[in-house]
């Protein structure tokens, strides 16, 4: 019995965190927000060199064939550093969806992801939330319709699209008939867009892909929870560090019981949530029948404590925490946007109930 991360996983985390603090410090994140899209291709390439983009891919694709827990450790570090990157879509969700499907191109695509040559956008929001008349239909190898809140479309080579609960398609991002509009959110570290498709030629289509879609969503939810957990961790660290330095009333504010208890509340919420995310990620490979429920609980729980931690750690900073200059808001907003990205907590909880048949009660 060993519930925890291994030495290899600790090494992975240390390597990635040291790379990120070195190469993508917050100053670099600040610069990137002025680009049309924050997803810096150089970061992606470096993550590929570190083995991160192929973390879930088999060795024959050039991947390192690790599990979702490893991917989550990476996601947590990326959230901790608020790194702009299509990791969640390209390195977690797309590989999960495609690696068990059958198509002649898949090998090439997956190798391209592992080597960092290819990046994928994902358009899967409508599998759980249809708004603004969005929706997609595939007919005769062509796909048409609209997808809201697609991720990482800018600069992507391909886009993975879910049309309904059981059909997937891959299109080239430069295929004729594709239109995209950047949808700016408060989070300047994530690329989100509206995608319109008019009779777009699919590079591949997959029917009866419901299992792939739900595995993809589960993996995405757990990794997003990990990203958000990392961001929470960073906010608490900053709040505690600031409280130990900042003086008011001739004392460091961290010696005031009110401030201490705010920090104690935050960390006491964070630590058990870490175990929940770890177990959810572990289950994905070890006990997959438990995963759908755990994915809902992990993401909804982290979303809830995330809102509280984001708000309280900002409050610990006082007015300074509210300035752009202090940078704290990058984490605040990353956590805030994660809250809706793969289903809001309320939706996830109702799904958790449904998975247990509890909604059938009369």
């Amino acid at each position: 019995m060993d519930f925890g991360i291994s030495e290899d996983q600790i090494l992975l985390e240390e390597t990635l965190r040291s790379f990120l603090s070195d190469r993508v410090p917050i100053e670099r994140v600040r610069e990137l927000r002025h680009e049309d899209c924050p997803n810096d291709p150089e970061i992606w390439q470096s993550l590929a060199e570190l083995g991160m983009t192929g973390i879930l891919l088999p060795e024959q694709s050039g991947g390192s064939d690790l599990g979702l827990l490893d991917a989550c450790i990476a996601a947590q570090s990326l959230g901790h550093a608020v790194t702009p990157t299509p990791f969640l879509g390209s390195a977690v969700m797309v590989p999960t969806a495609l690696k068990n499907l059958d198509h002649p191109e898949i090998g090439t695509w997956l190798s391209g992801i592992a080597s960092g040559e290819l990046r994928f956008g994902v358009a899967i929001t409508e599998t759980f939330s249809v708004r603004e008349g969005a929706g997609l239909t595939i007919s005769g190898g062509k796909i048409s319709g609209k997808a809201m809140m697609s991720w990482d479309i800018c600069g992507a080579d391909f886009i993975l699209i879910a049309s309904g609960q059981d059909r997937l398609a891959v299109v080239r991002s430069d295929a004729e008939g594709i239109g995209q509009t950047r949808l700016a959110t408060t989070d300047e570290t994530r690329c989100t867009s509206e995608l319109t498709l008019e009779n777009v030629e699919c590079a591949a289509t997959f029917e009866n892909a419901s299992e792939s879609i739900s595995r993809m969503l589960d993996a995405g939810r757990i990794a997003l929870a990990a990203d958000c957990l990392g961001a929470c961790e960073a906010m608490i660290e900053q709040a505690v560090a600031y409280a130990k330095e900042r003086k008011q009333f001739e004392r460091v504010i961290g010696s005031f019981q009110a401030v201490k208890h705010m920090c104690a509340e935050m960390i006491s919420e964070l630590e058990p949530a870490r175990a929940l995310v770890w177990y959810a990620a572990h289950s994905f490979d070890a006990v997959p029948n438990e995963t759908p429920l755990l994915a809902c609980h992990a993401l909804s729980h982290v979303s809830e404590i995330g809102r509280e931690i984001a708000s309280v750690s900002t409050q610990v900073h006082g007015g300074i925490g509210w300035t752009d200059e202090q940078n704290l808001h990058f984490w605040f907003k990353r956590i805030g946007v994660a809250r809706g990205l793969l289903g809001g907590p309320q939706w996830l909880r109702e799904r958790a109930a449904t998975l247990q048949g509890l909604d059938k009660a009369s």
């Binding site: 929001t125 939330s129 249809v130 708004r131 603004e132 809201m148 809140m149 509009t181 950047r182 949808l183 700016a184 959110t185 408060t186 989070d187 509206e194 003086k247 008011q248 009333f249 001739e250 004392r251 504010i253 005031f256 009110a258 401030v259 809102r307 708000s311 900002t314 409050q315 006082g318 007015g319 300074i320 925490g321 509210w322 300035t323 752009d324 200059e325 704290l328 808001h329 605040f332 907003k333 805030g336 946007v337 809250r339 809706g340 990205l341 289903g343 809001g344 907590p345 309320q346 939706w347 109702e350």
Partner: protein, 398 residues
Amino acid sequence: MDLSYGQKYEEFRMEVRSFLEENKPLQSESPLSSGRRQRLVEWLSLQIEHGYWARTIPKKYGGYGAEPDLLETVIMDEEFNRAGIPRGMSSQGPSMLVPTLLEHGSEEQRLRWISPTMRGEITWCQGYSEPGSGSDLASLQTSAKEDGDDFLISGQKIWTSTADRSQMIFILVRTEPDAPKHSGISYILLPMDTPGIEVQPLRTMSGDLGENSFNQVFFTDVRVPQVNVVGKRGEGWRIANTTLKHERNSLNANSEGTMIKLMRLMERETCNGVSAMASPVFRDRLMQLQARSMAMKFHAMRMVTCSLRDEAPGVAGLVTKLRNCQLNFDISSLAIDVMGELGALYDHTPYERDLGYWQAHSFFSLGLIIGGGTAQIQKNIISERGLGMPREPKPAKA
């Protein structure tokens, strides 16, 4: 309990209402647009003439000269809000400086500053907070050194709204560096175009650089005559507390309008073909907020009544800001939640709901929880002044 206003006041209400219908005031133009200043001055002057602005300020200082009457104030607020017409001035000159001058200013200062301030001819900003002095405002370090009949001011202020477009600043500076921290502070008026003043915009997490923006103001050997001190030298802390009291009251945003906006949003916003209002879970949260919002509305009526009756409101008078800020933050949180993955849209992007109001309101409410004394300072005040609990003991010297 009698919630009618009585005939006299209802007549007053009708007067205000017809005045507003007849006079089309300047609407929510950018404060920076050309020609606006002139229209603003005209509009404020017209209001003063009818007694809807500067109502209780004596005529000799350029006001209307009426006796204070809280109900009239409440009615004017209600009617201007109802008509959706801004009073025209939200700067800190009329709301904070003028009451201070009336209470502590010299006759000369009153005669010189009150009238143009109320008419909008002069915009003021407030120089209180410093990067090192937030909750502990009295620890401020901006210094004013005597130099003949003048002071030379050096230091830095933060959170200075409208500094980029103000002609004047009222500022707290340390004039007696050796006095205990609360007794070494003076309250000084000075023009913003004095040499040595530099204004830098302060970007906040909301990214907003518009009308609600903030600035940092840097002072390097800024010369100001000693006669510009308000009240006595070294008494700035006590004098500032008069204005801070005004600020605390002005931070009490009423949530009724926001609740109505939220309900419209929830009726309109659909996910998978079902409106947010049709979700029992969202509806339950909405009803929790509605009850809290109503409680705060009636609480405000109770506080007005205390003033009318000249009764001390006790601890009840201290809790408004704490609860209203949290309520407003929670209202925007529900709004953001019902919009799901679109709840984070911002910055005038397509599909953004209510012009990005909800995210902005959320940032702004969080700022209010922090600003004007953090929630922690509020709770200290409530427990000490309101409940008579002891102050924390002074720490032993290390």
